[in-house]
Every structure is written in C-alpha cells, then in structure tokens.
C-alpha cells in the first residue's frame, strides 16, 4: 500500500536502503552496505565495548565489571537451571544471542530521529534477520542432538511410555511442533518489534495530524496522544528486554531437548 500524499507511512521506517550508492551487484547478488548492516555493526561495536570494559578481572569489581558480570551470571544461571551442568558450554552462544538482540532492540528505540537526516533502524524488526538467528539456534539443536544421540534423537518425538497405537500419531504431532520452532522463534521477535514501532509511528501521526487540524483538536487529541506515546515507549523498552529474554530462554530450552532428550 503506497503512502498517500500528505500522510505519514508507518512502514517506511523498515525500509532497507544502501548507504553508499547503488551498483553493488556481484554475480547477481546485491552486497551493498545497508542501514540494516550499519546498525548491526554499531550493535556489535557497542556490545564489544561493553564486554571489553568489564574484562578487567579485578578481585573487587567496579561498576562496569559488575554490570557485565551480572549479565553473564544471568545467562549462566538460566542455562544451569534449564540444561544442567552441561549447559555451561552454551554460555558464549546464548550470551551473544541475548545481548545482540537486546542491544539491537534498544538501539532501535533511541530518539536519534531528532537529528535531521539520522534514523534509528531496528534490525530485529526484519524477518530475514530474526530468521537467521532462529535458524542458528535450530541448527545447534540438530547438530548437538544428532552428534550426541545419533538416531536416538528421534526418541524426542516419542514421549516415554507412550502406548504403541499412539506412537504414529504422537510422532507426527511432535515432529510438527519441533519443525515449527524456528519459525515461531523468529516470528515472535520480528512481529513484536515491528508492531511496537508501527504503533509508535501511528501515535506520532495522531499528534501531527491533530496539530494540523486546528487549535481545538490540537489542544485535546495532540497532548493525549503524546502522553500515550511516552507510555508506549516505556512499554517498548520492557518488550525489548522481554523478547530478548524469551528468545534466549526458548533457545536454551530447545538446546536442553538436544542435550538431554526428555
């Protein structure tokens, strides 16, 4: 649906644009450095700086080291609770995943749009990116599962002490619920982020349109919509954290299936 004249298009914020001109075709693939790639790079640099600042290994940790250790400890505890002591080897992966998504979600909420010409971009609002992250988790589950248990991994689809006549039916249902996991994992993050940003943009449209519609509407609808925007922004910060947490939590649960079957 194209934007009509004089209307704010809430979907424009998700547009991916090449930053350094077009013409980056290599063998039929476009490898242009896009705004999405830029924000992923910013996220990685900030994440690296955040962790590097806390790697001093002092006996009495300072504030920064404490912050980093709280995050790693949080992931460590989550994996210990969900997987057990074999879960420790997944701390680097789940930590990177959690922090990458969390930083990406939060950076997309920064009010950088106040500076003319600059736009924040939430790369987690794109299915391609969350899809690749979900496939990464899913591949680890498949690799670990078949590596550790061989074809016994298919036992995951048949719960213990299932009556024999029920096995074919349950196998199909469990297989389906297993195969849908990467899709649901990717979909949850992408839709949650996109819906929040669209909502904020639509409320911003209310403010602008109300101010343009004259003093009566501008004095009533405008400030009310602005207040709602502030509240929704706070909610979005919460959602950014929860979605990153849910992604990491579900990834660790799926890895638990591969490690321990059930």
């Amino acid at each position: 649906m194209a934007a009509q004249e004089g209307k704010v298009d809430p979907m424009k914020q998700f547009q991916i644009e090449p930053l350094f001109g077009s013409g980056w075709e290599v063998a039929g693939f476009n490898i242009a450095f896009t705004n999405s790639a830029l924000w992923m790079a910013i996220t990685v640099v900030l994440l690296w700086a955040f962790v590097a600042g806390g790697m001093k290994r002092e006996l009495v940790p300072g504030r920064w080291q404490m912050a980093v250790e709280t995050m790693t400890g949080f992931i460590d505890d989550m994996l210990a609770a969900n997987i057990g002591k074999e879960g420790r080897k997944y701390v680097p992966y789940i930590f990177s995943l959690f922090m990458f998504i969390l930083f990406g979600n939060l950076l997309g909420l920064l009010p950088i749009g106040l500076f003319p010409g600059a736009h924040p971009f939430t790369f987690t609002s794109h299915f391609t990116i969350t899809g690749v992250l979900a496939l990464l988790s899913f591949s680890i589950v498949l690799l670990v599962g078949f590596w550790k248990h061989g074809f016994g991994f298919f036992g995951l689809f048949v719960p213990h002490e299932t009556p024999v006549p029920m096995i074919p039916l349950l196998f199909v249902i469990e297989l389906f619920s297993f195969m849908i996991r990467p899709i649901s994992l990717a979909l949850r993050l992408f839709v949650a982020m996109m819906a929040g940003h669209v909502l904020l943009k639509i409320l911003a449209t209310f403010v602008i349109d109300a101010l343009n519609a004259g003093p009566a509407l501008g004095a009533t609808v405008g400030p009310a919509a602005l207040l709602l925007m502030i509240a929704i922004s706070a909610l979005e910060i919460l959602v950014a954290g929860i979605q990153a947490y849910v992604f990491a939590l579900l990834s660790s649960l799926y890895i638990n299936d591969a490690e321990n079957l059930h």
Partner: protein, 75 residues
C-alpha cells in the same frame, strides 16, 4: 463486495485475535501472581515457566497480527 474493502474487513477481523491473545497473556500473568502470592517462596523458581507460557500465548496473538499485515500489504 469490493476486493480492497474485503481485505480491510478481514484485517480488522484479525485484530479480534490479537485482543483475545491479550486475554491469554493477562491470564498467564494473573495466574502466576495468584500462585506467587499464595506461595512466594516458590515464585522465583517458576519465572522461566511464566515466560514460556507468556511466549506461547503471545505467539498466537502475533499470528493474528501477521494475518492482518499479509491481508493489508501482501494479498
């Protein structure tokens, strides 16, 4: 009926699903809080399950949103 109008009505109807998922998510947290107030000692250990339930309930609402988006922008 006009095709464009039918799509918009369909997208609007899909929003009902998002509202129903809101009931589901509310129910997850309400039940957790109810249980947590009865037995605060056991509450912290169940936080992981709380978020699993939240994620499952939320996903169905997000699917409704997806249907609306597909109707408006793709179909």
């Amino acid at each position: 009926m006009d095709m464009e109008a039918a799509k918009m009505i369909g997208a609007g109807l899909a929003a009902v699903g998002a509202g129903l998922a809101a009931l589901g998510v509310g129910n997850v947290f309400a039940s957790f809080l109810e249980g947590a107030l009865r037995n605060p000692g056991a509450a912290d250990s169940q936080q992981g399950r709380l978020f699993i339930g939240f994620a499952a309930a939320e996903l169905l609402g997000l699917l409704a949103f997806l249907v609306a988006v597909i109707l408006v922008f793709v179909a």
